[in-house]
């Protein structure tokens, strides 16, 4: 009996334990049964927007190559990473670090759109209530594949979330014609169901879908459809709440952008970030080293060649808005010819001002994590698309002249100069075509559009040849209009062969 209490003690001690060992991860979000309401669909679409504003997409990994591959922007600091210089020099290899970074991020945006579409349709709601939200995902998917198809040509294409990884690892590339057809179908759906207006240009509207339809058709030379879609937006500009901003400068002032009505779709930042989400680097990459601009200057990575400054008419208000020709060093103003004096990584050229001049609040030095909302399409571009497309289907129209003149009038109003003058009526079709492309060069300078213009109009040989804005002897039109697919993706899925030509 005496020992009983000891035995009792020893029986109590081991009583712990015996668990089913199932994990209950309360602080980890699970995809199982996630979609319960329309708000959940919006949350997944917001994930796609968040991915667009991430470092590996519009933060710099995609946006920077788009600038550098154009004839408007080169490399300033030659000590910068080789993966960047290779885009400017057309010496990109199939393991280029910019491509291997933005490729997965781009597909993550698409995966979000696919999840939202399947999840939204699975809720079993009436189409009037669910489709306007799901239509955002269709727009996002079209927008993202539109980048990919222009960059790579044929690509792996998915319009549902990947469930079976083994299967997905063996797909072949989808031909670009099919990709374009799918993009157009997505945008048609979006145009049908998106609302006329949204609380913010970060959310797409019917006009965003139509504007992108215009640009997609323009890109594949469906000029009539391009014109129709642009015309649809222009005819309904009041209904869509669109107008050109009065002052061109305001478009690039982060504190004023949200009050303007010119953007059809923007990638938004609000001066905060979490890690690389919401952190845009463009202000830092384009800023002047050692410039006492209150942000610690920039990194002098993406800098226009001096030809941009030299060939841009000095009377154009847009030049003053787009380029920085002075900086402040040691408390005194100095001009761009002396920029290298203050930091050897600067070059003697006018710098891009659109992103570093008015960044609003920034979450990090050098203008990183700004408040900039990056317009993916502005109403001015819709006018230029309408003019360019109309010129192709019926040249010499005063209607086309009028679209250009609206854009130029706004430019003039900035500084009250007489430049750029209205279009001379009755231009030949080819003169008008060249004029519109030049107008796009200046109006949309550094807005990530020029490379795509060079590609769709096959301007590379001129742009990068002798007498071009940037002489790039390495430019090879049979290779460089397409990027290589990341080599590691080809290793993972050999069915993606053949690699784009020349890589």
């Amino acid at each position: 009996m005496k020992n009983l209490k000891y035995i009792f003690l020893l029986l109590v001690l081991p009583i712990l334990g015996c668990s089913d060992l199932e994990e209950e991860p309360v602080s980890v979000l699970s995809p199982d049964g996630f979609f319960k309401s329309i708000q959940d669909v919006q949350t997944v679409i917001n994930g796609a927007y968040g991915n667009m504003a991430e470092e590996a997409f519009w933060g710099r990994k995609l946006s920077l190559p788009l600038m550098l591959r154009s004839d408007m922007v080169g490399i300033g600091d030659q000590g910068t990473a080789g993966r960047r210089k290779d885009h400017d020099n057309f010496s990109v290899a199939d393991d280029n670090g910019m491509i291997t970074a933005f490729w997965p991020r781009t597909y993550q945006i698409i995966a979000g759109a696919n999840e939202a579409i399947v999840g939204g349709n699975g809720l079993g709601l009436a189409e009037e209530s669910i489709n306007p939200v799901v239509a955002q995902a269709h727009f996002v998917r079209a927008y993202t594949y539109f980048h990919l198809v222009r960059l790579f040509g044929d690509i792996p294409y998915f319009d549902t979330p990947v469930q079976n990884i083994a299967e997905a690892s063996q797909v072949s590339k989808t031909p670009q014609a099919t990709v374009y057809a799918n993009i157009i179908a997505d945008l048609e759906f979006a145009k049908q169901w998106l609302p006329d207006t949204q609380p913010s240009s970060a959310l797409p509207t019917k006009a965003s879908a139509a504007g992108y339809l215009a640009l997609v058709h323009l890109t594949i030379n469906n000029f009539q459809e391009a014109y129709n879609e642009a015309k649809f937006v222009i005819d309904n500009e009041a209904r869509f709440g669109l107008e050109l901003a009065a002052d061109f400068q305001d478009l690039f002032d982060a504190t004023k952008q949200s009050g303007l009505k010119e953007a059809l779709f923007t990638i938004d930042h609000n001066g905060f970030r979490s890690g690389n989400y919401g952190q845009d680097y463009t202000a830092a990459l384009t800023g002047i080293r050692a410039n006492e601009d209150g942000k610690g200057g920039g990194w002098s990575v993406a800098v226009p060649s001096i030809e941009v400054y030299n060939r841009w008419d000095g009377r154009d208000y847009r030049k003053a808005v787009s380029l920085d020709t002075i900086g402040v060093f040691n408390g005194a103003v100095d001009t761009f010819m002396n920029f290298p004096t203050y930091d050897a990584r600067n070059i003697s050229s006018a710098y891009i001002a659109k992103y570093s001049r008015f960044t609003g609040q920034t979450s990090n030095g050098n203008g990183r994590g700004s408040e900039h909302n990056y317009a993916q399409m502005r109403y001015a571009e819709v006018l230029l698309i309408a003019a360019e497309a109309l010129n192709e289907v019926s040249p010499g129209s005063t209607e086309a002249d009028g679209y250009i003149n609206r854009v130029r009038a706004r430019a003039r109003s900035g500084n009250g100069s007489s430049f750029p003058a209205d279009v001379t009526p009755g231009m030949s079709q080819s003169d008008f075509r060249n004029m519109v492309l030049e107008e796009r060069r200046w109006e949309l300078a550094f807005e990530f559009k020029r490379w795509y213009d060079i590609k769709r109009r096959d301007l590379g040989t001129t742009a990068f040849g002798t007498g071009g804005f940037e002489e790039r002897p390495n430019f090879n039109p049979s290779r460089d209009y397409l990027l290589p697919l990341p080599n590691d993706e080809l290793q993972r899925n050999p069915n993606l062969e053949p690699q784009n030509s020349g890589y």
Partner: protein, 1005 residues
Amino acid sequence: MKKIKQFKRILFLVLSFSFALSASAQDKTITGTVTSESDGLGLPGVNVVVKGTTTGTATDFDGNYSINVSGDSTILVFSYVGYVTQEITVGVRNEINVALIEDAASLDEVVVVGYGARKKSDITGSVSSVKAEEVTAFPVLDAQQALQGRAAGVAVQSNNGGEPGTPINVTIRGNTSINASSAALVVVDGFVGATYPQPGDIESVEVLKDASATAIYGSRGANGVILVTTKKGRKGKMTVELNSNYAIQSTSNRLDLLNADQFATYTRAINPSYTQAAANTDWQDLIYTSGNTANHQLSFSGGSDNINYYVSGNYFDQKGVVVNSGFERFSFLSNIDAQINDKLKLGFNAFGSRSSKDGVSTQANSGGRGSGDVISIAYRFAPDLGVLDENGNNTFNSVGDDIDNPFAVATERVDETVEDAYRANFYGEYQIIEGLTFKSTFGFSSRNQTRGQFTPSTLITSAGDQGGIAGIANLKNTNLLSENYLTYTKEIGKGNLTLLAGYSYQKDRTVTNSAGAEGFVTNSVSYYALDTASTPLFPESFLREFEIQSQYGRVNYDYDDKYLITFTARRDGASNFAKNNKYAFFPSGALGWKISNEDFLKDNATISNLKLRVSYGITGNPSIAPYQSLATLESIYAVAGDQTVNAVVSGRPANPNLKWESSYQTNFGIDLGLWRNKASLSVDIYNIDTKDLIVGNSNTPEYTGFLNPNFLDNIGEINNKGVEITLSTKNIVTDDFSWSTDFNWSRNRNTVEKLFGSDVDFFLPSAAPGHFLQDETHILREGEALGQFFGWEYRGVYQGGALPEGTATFTGAVAGDELFTDVDGSGEINSADRKIIGDPNQDWTFGFNNTFKYKNFDLGVFFQGAVGGDIYSFTLSELASGGSNATTEAVNAWTPSNTDTNVPSPGTREKRMNSRFVFDGTYVRLKNLVLGYNLPQDITEKLGMDNVRFSISGQNLLTFTDYPGTDPEVSYRASGSQNANVNQGFDYGNYPNIESVTFSVNLKF
């Protein structure tokens, strides 16, 4: 003052507690000296135990002992390794001197193994023992540091040079994993996963290396196990020990950098318009200071008939060699055991500590704008600037990245971590029948950590724009452990059988939360008033739990003291294992043959001990953090219409088949003792095949659109094979003088056997500092060792004109630029010209300790080193890239008039991974040199002391190496990140290694 008060309070508690316990002890005291019969010298460390009890003591350095006994009929047992055990009845005597006879056969030292103990001579696995005096040979914060060079096959690495309070990594027999930790499992007094006690409280450390020894720890045994046993009281009068030491410390090495004039000349060669500023600052001088460490330990131990106790308190305070860095810790340990009756024994073990660490940022992951990495910025910062500019503001760099000056960063940034750790372990042991006992332990440990950081707005590039940045992060970890096992021993004829069977359950729970803010009204609030800031940063919180339940068993059988057999098995079930693989089974077996006990060797004069051991077994590495096998959505930061909105993205696909990594290990060992064990040699040869390595499956195409498509999968195989040699000799033994040597040597080769295919190089995440913008630094390749450096082979300076055969340059190079090997013969250097340029794995390592004794003096000389193992210095790469200060190498840079040089012309260049910055990391280090003096016994007796010892020692006084960086023991990114295990040999901005001179006093009374 506050510190002193707290210490006094603790001391008072400790004193009152222990006196209360010892009051019941009444007995007479026996003193005496134990000598060796062969040479008459005093034998230190002889166990003197009252027969039939656990009461006992050990002889001091001269063989003296003192023990309390309760009656004349008491029998004292004197035992010592390699000597015949003697039993002596006390009788009426008060002094008993004993001469022990050496006996080759009696290797009766008891070694702790998992869930039990074995006679050392009966061990069949590979086990290294580190003695208490080796752990305390010089003062260390963390007992793991003291293991360096002490046991073959055990690699000890600081996470960050000589940083006060930096964690220590211990790796046994090489890296067995890619993703998972290779750190050994630590078991303190049976508590799995406990924190180390402080060194002075350690009785013994056993390192279990082969599968036979570690399989009892199953899924956690693959990296080896370190068993730590703390001291316990012995029956007898209360013994008080006071060990105090004080060390003076300084940086062991610095870089030779350009002074202000040289820097201006160099910078003007890059940027002719550079204007030299007025100052001439040696930034290393400013951020380095002389450090010191004070370490005091006071312990009380003793016991009565039924109760024994050991109570100890410790105070450790280190002021680091980088200004503003330091570490302080108070800790206590209490071990109490009570024999309740013949059958039942109860015990209680408690440990507690509070530590505070004042940190400065070093080894930062990125050194770009606003970097807080004081070491790397001290190297880079312009020496022609002072701390303050003419307006009294902190200066920031005039070249390269915008960084605040290192002195301002070191003194103004706040980074404090306070941690409280407690552990309580209760056990009961009951003898059910003769030979069969049941032991049950219940333990609980808790760790609470708070880390606060603040960067004031006066650090202009770090936090000037934001108006100061502060953050506070909390971690609370609790761990519950229940172990229950039966042990049965029985003699069967000429054989002995021991059986063990047990069950264990463990649950671990960690909660973290953090908050931050920026834009402070004033810099004076530090991180204590986040609410006074204008902008809150994102708060975060997380809960992580896991459970393990296990059954384990072991059979030991030895026959005729010649043949030994051990079988061990454990079955682990763990919540963090994937759905379809919740349980794992780990068996092992071993055989031993004591050849020296066979008739033909029994009386051999030369060979006093010869044993062969062979073992094979499977052990695991759990390697799966909780929830890693589940599919996830990740919440991300997103903005729409300038408003932050809820947003999620697809995180990771599930892998319900994910399982632990398994190591299949074979071990052959031989133990040889010669000339009555004056020389003893152990050699172990092992082969470890680790399979099912958990690697992010990079075969998943990224176009599948997951944030992390590389879901964890069992893919790779690694092989480790090696040899370990331990040799101990007593070279000279005379009356007044003795000399003994301990030497250990180990060599490990690891090879990636299987990964994604023989032609696929697996690029590990870049180990370069973020601002280097380097994508790829090191690779895994089948057939090669882990973590090979990958880059271009540097071939000197391009002299202009035609390219030397087999070399080329990057596009646009001019004379004075870098020349590289043109691997593909394309005439131009690009990414296709990269190759393996270095192997960070060491060829072999060794420890070599000599102890000399002359009368009351003793001298210890301890060398430790490694041969082979390349280092890639990001530090030197950065200092050679322009846009920063440079090493004095820049004085010899290429110019049109100085063409015979290996240093390219001054210029701003990409920091490319290339062989110019790969160096041999071979080193030999005088780890410890100690000179000690024990007061003669007649004096100590007059003082009423048992023993008084003074010593002076030096640590890291000499290092022989060709490595041009500050120290060859590098560890950049070797902790904290997912692939830390394979980030070896990288050097960037590490906290400097320190050399110390230490004064110690040990009192025992």
